[in-house]
Subunit: 213 residues, 2 copies
DNA sequence: GGACCCATGTAAATAGTTACATGATTCT
DNA sequence: AGAATCATGTAACTATTTACATGGGTCC
């Protein structure tokens, strides 16, 4: 059978969609948005768990629309092209729901800083301290912004929300974000201390082993 | 000028290499290995920070060799092809060192589980509990294996090692691994408790807010 | 006038995954 | 006999990044 018309394939198995598709559906399940707004959301504190640039988002939204998992409404909008506000369809919500229950297979991933630290014994200790300090500053910023959000949420009584409310999910992911940044920050600080004490001590660390992970 | 021979390009800027290349160099800086062994290393407790399959590793090693950042020695080996043991060159070590000192630009990344939790309000709470339980089990296993390694390292006096020794770097990355798994585990457990109490309580959570992140 | 935000696309290149292909040795 | 481990490669496909392209409105 020759495939001449390239119609949207059957798509019975939700696993046929890339994870990015579910990230977009997850954002749209909360609130209808333009592609531009989705890109912003994924860069904001909550929803920091899936990076994507607009060069990836726009084509994927088109695919989702072809599969009728999202729907779009066009308005004149700025720029030469019409502005499209996407919203999730019943079908899209069904697919998202199914995917959430699927076993998670991808653990770990890729971590630039950890790789650098792993290779740091080959480098100048001062250079290592420099990059870890940069990381420390970065994580301190992130943590501060997460904590600001958490305070704002607490005022709105998120702690009493139920798991079928979007704000519960937001609270849960935010909480993980805070834990992650705290852990990273503590580790950066421990590492800096160790690197500096070795630097001062002429190569060998001797001070009392500090606590914290 | 027509490019007819495709000789290894200038490569003055270390940023021209993908991060994978530095992951391979970092492993080889420790000890000469075959491509197969590198793949194993990247799956083991230490060095879990850069995933890569052999389909990516072998071609990249060939690129590194063309640039003379690694060198290989061939032996008859099993299978139809010769077994190649790669080792890092002085040039390779220089490149690695330079890269370590470069500012880290890639933060965050992608996290399947967090995305699922973010979308969990659309799904069946029982399904959510199921996937978080799977995660809990996974992180408990990882943590146990990290702690085993840490105990083994402690016996060998790693805490007194200096930052120019590979084992210090191993200790540092391992320590981060432990912190990460602990944090994740605590979060999974908190989340399960919240999901279950809401399930029992008929939709609204009311119990005393539990501590821990 | 220039920079930045809104807004949407496409093209080219790079990175990463999965499947195909081969074959000896060791363990069950 | 069948599976797992050691070992290396390639091809096809999928995913991601980066650069090009356009243009109005707002702020300094």
């Amino acid at each position: 059978m020759a495939v001449l018309h390239k119609s949207p394939r059957a798509l019975d198995d939700p696993a046929d969609l890339p994870t990015l598709a579910y990230a977009l559906l997850a954002v749209l399940a909360r609130t209808p948005s333009t592609g531009y707004q989705i890109a912003q959301q994924l860069r904001e504190p909550i929803a920091r768990f899936w990076e994507a640039g607009h060069g990836q988002i726009y084509p994927q939204l088109a695919v989702l629309e072809r599969h009728r998992l999202v729907r779009s409404a066009s308005e004149p909008g700025p720029g030469p092209r019409p502005k499209k506000t996407y919203s999730i369809t019943k079908r899209g919500l069904l697919y998202l729901r199914r995917w959430v229950g699927l076993p998670t297979s991808r653990w770990g991933g890729r971590d630039d800083l950890l790789l650098k630290v792993y290779a740091s014994w080959t480098a100048d200790p001062a250079a290592t301290v420099r990059i870890v300090r940069e990381a420390e500053a970065h994580h301190a910023d992130e943590l501060a912004s997460y904590l600001r959000m958490a305070r704002a949420q607490r005022v709105r009584g998120v702690e009493q929300s139920s798991p079928d409310e979007p704000r519960f999910a937001e609270y849960a992911t935010l909480r993980r974000g805070i834990g992650y940044e705290r852990g990273r920050l503590a580790w950066c600080r421990w590492l800096i201390k160790r690197l500096r004490s070795a630097d001062a001590g002429g190569g060998r660390a001797t001070g009392p082993g500090s606590r914290s992970t």
